[in-house]
């Protein structure tokens, strides 16, 4: 399955201003993922686009007072994965 064409509907971002940045990044990522990464090429050409998009998302998260620290905590691959989630 090829990545979706540019005419496909785009998904909203948590930051309303980030939507276009997200769309641009997703197009780059989906193309690289299916055409390169799955065939063993790990060099990611979308990092610059991702940085801009990521900065926008982090700003939106802070503005909405969401818990960025809890969000960014890795669980998969750690001991916490095998535990029931904490009820903090």
């Amino acid at each position: 399955m090829k990545y979706l064409s540019k005419r496909a509907a785009s998904m909203d971002s948590v930051g309303t201003d980030c939507r276009e940045l997200k769309r641009t990044y997703d197009e780059c990522f989906n193309k690289w993922f299916s055409e390169k990464f799955l065939k063993g090429v790990t060099e990611d050409p979308c990092t610059a686009l991702f940085k801009v998009y990521q900065d926008c998302v982090k700003k939106a998260i802070r503005e909405k007072n969401l818990n960025l620290e809890e969000i960014e905590t890795d669980v998969l691959g750690t001991e916490r994965e095998k535990q029931p989630p904490p009820t903090t």
Binding site: K2, L4, D12, G40, E72, D74
Partner: protein, 150 residues
Amino acid sequence: MVKFMTASSVFKFTWDQVASGMWQRYPNPNSKHVLTEDVLSRRIEDQKLVSLRILTKTNKIPKWGERFVGQNKNILIIEESVVDPKEKTFTTYTRNVGLQKVLLTASITSHNLQFFSISVAGLAKLKSWALPHLLLVALGFSRWDQVPLL
């Protein structure tokens, strides 16, 4: 009280198709309750792609439940994933942030090899009230997100 659930399905697509499709599930008409989807971090580690995504979903509470959780509020979902193109595995760990005192779910899914099997383990942990306890479990499972693949 803890509930554990597993489910598996077989889909007739190549692993590459499913792996690519995992990033393109939204928007879709079967998941209108998913409001936003963002990638927060992504890196390559040992030839594998490690990503962190955040999604927000609606969280419709029936009237009787509002006094336990407040009115309808969107809920934040975190999805960590590791894609290994050599082993052909796509593993995700999904959990909700917020409402953890009332209803907590975490799921681990893995898609591997050519016959994609999806195993879903759901874990719900609730406070120990009597009847509302059981009804909240029913509510939680009736809203369990069916992963739309393609």
